[in-house]
Symmetry: none
Subunit: 190 residues, 4 copies
Amino acid sequence: MTKEAKPLRADALRNRALVLEAAETVLARDGVAASMRAVAQQAGVGLGTIYRHFPTQEALYAAILDDRMRRLAERATTSYATSDAGPAFVEFFTDVVDNASRMKAMADTLGDAGVDVKAGLSEAGASIRSAIETLFVRAQQAGAVREDVGMPELLALLGAACMAAERNQWDPQLRDRTLNVIFDGLRPRP
Amino acid sequence: MTKEAKPLRADALRNRALVLEAAETVLARDGVAASMRAVAQQAGVGLGTIYRHFPTQEALYAAILDDRMRRLAERATTSYATSDAGPAFVEFFTDVVDNASRMKAMADTLGDAGVDVKAGLSEAGASIRSAIETLFVRAQQAGAVREDVGMPELLALLGAACMAAERNQWDPQLRDRTLNVIFDGLRPRP
Amino acid sequence: MTKEAKPLRADALRNRALVLEAAETVLARDGVAASMRAVAQQAGVGLGTIYRHFPTQEALYAAILDDRMRRLAERATTSYATSDAGPAFVEFFTDVVDNASRMKAMADTLGDAGVDVKAGLSEAGASIRSAIETLFVRAQQAGAVREDVGMPELLALLGAACMAAERNQWDPQLRDRTLNVIFDGLRPRP
Amino acid sequence: MTKEAKPLRADALRNRALVLEAAETVLARDGVAASMRAVAQQAGVGLGTIYRHFPTQEALYAAILDDRMRRLAERATTSYATSDAGPAFVEFFTDVVDNASRMKAMADTLGDAGVDVKAGLSEAGASIRSAIETLFVRAQQAGAVREDVGMPELLALLGAACMAAERNQWDPQLRDRTLNVIFDGLRPRP
DNA sequence: TATGAATGAGTATTCATTCAT
DNA sequence: GATGAATGAATACTCATTCAT
């Protein structure tokens, strides 16, 4: 349980992290034009080192997605602590969108790269999906969200807001006004 | 009126249209991986023919965008005829998003290529913007849309939905369920 | 004798000349990058018209060479009138070099284009060659030029001087000082 | 001294040399029609290998020019050792022209490409110019060359001979017969 | 007859991936 | 393990030439 199949050496583990971080940076900077060589330079490692950790470019991109999902899931889980389910859900949703511009070009660039986003989701995505779902269902049970809205729509709305916020650089006011429309749409009809 | 700048031969005009259509198809199929050769094959013309009509790949993509904008603006204008302002607005909004889902990766590619998408849009874009505003205001006046929602939020929502639909390839059912939440959010509260 | 095999119509003849002139201009301007399309535009005729008169690009280039040869031959023949053979030869040689910069990029560009210069010479080149030879031999017979120098060297020297004069823009003083070395080298040793 | 900027692996260095040599061969064979692919095949390396060493075709050609200049300068300097100044000068002049005849179309291509050939030459070119001047002045002091001929004419003659030799592919015999005329012209008159 | 639209082979260049050092 | 040199398939684009209008 505590022992992994591959107890990577400390430096190897560090290199893996270096590459992942570099890849995010390069992806954000260069978009679809990002190249493995650029990632290697940004990470300060050799090209071969990347391939030691990620067999293909697609695997590297999938790992980035996985990494992001993991962080998102953590954030969601943390929100469980909040007592009131409705505000917890709204807060998490807003939080994610607000931070979207830091998660530069995520699904955006990854989608372009031909990565099967849905496949990527199935791994770490399962956990984040369930974390979000927990928040969502709790909000529904608390009567803060309509019962006839499902996870697919929710994720679609969340993704849409994130992409647009990042790409079009929504200012806080526009973000709030826009999300309010969505939250209103999610609220139960009297 | 009778004197055009370039009266363009009938077959040339036909080929231009063929190429545009083929490019849309290939772009939808291959995303950023779309190649000029693939477009030529899809169109059933030689590579050179594409370059006769569009000097660069970027120019071809910009032409598609322009074409689509033009058609969208036409559709918006046509919607004016619909007697009921509310449904006209909903129908048009849906139409635009539906359209976007087939524009996979195009705006991205253009963005990466350094093309100022907004600049490209400014021509046809100005007309489509005003067409949207007309539909929107009419819907508000008809009591189908809340008065406290402005064009900025509307465009943010439309943009977000378009991006997500395009990137994540929303199927018609997901699109409808998602847009329904937004439309509900836009509806006046009792 | 007076009746040619192809009594070209007046306009066709004019087009042929237009194309030739345009080709010289374009060749001088664009060097190896010269294209048939550019020639057509410069001439103000359609692409097809060029191909009506010259079956291939090489044929066009050969025609230019031919044209220039013809003009050179005329110039040489005119020099026959000069009474003194030695000065006539020197004058012609200098004259040709002096005017080389007007015959922009001749063998230079043509050579690049893959035209077989020697083949081109065999047609109209024969006449110019004989005209130059006449001047040369007369100068040798008059004792103004060494007997042990042949036409090949002479043409090599003439060509070299022309190319260098044109490319490096020899000023009159440099031209004279340089040609004087050559003329000295051609003079009989005492 | 012991610390180089790029210690370049042994095989990489070998490939660089292979490519340079192959490029010279192909350039001599195909002139402007030379292609990067042909160079790769001639060198027996992959296309990418050429681009690893020379970022563009132009850079490759410039490297050849530089390489040749360097070797020429060396040869000139080596000629100093020759006891007899006159023959040393003649030998070097011939050597340069001989070399030029194998440079078919290169300077041209460079010129067309917008490269300032003189600028490219300025590095290695400065040294070769001074090497030539040394040989020339020594020959004059030894009484093998006229005192009233200056460097400008000398360079003009050398340049002219190089261009013509390169363009018209002088064979060794023609080269010798032509240069003999020039050498005679440079010899002091009794 | 003149035109220029169409063609496609050919060119330089990039970049994911492999493998010798 | 790490490195970066080598590879070559793939891409955008050009241009001589043909042929329908």
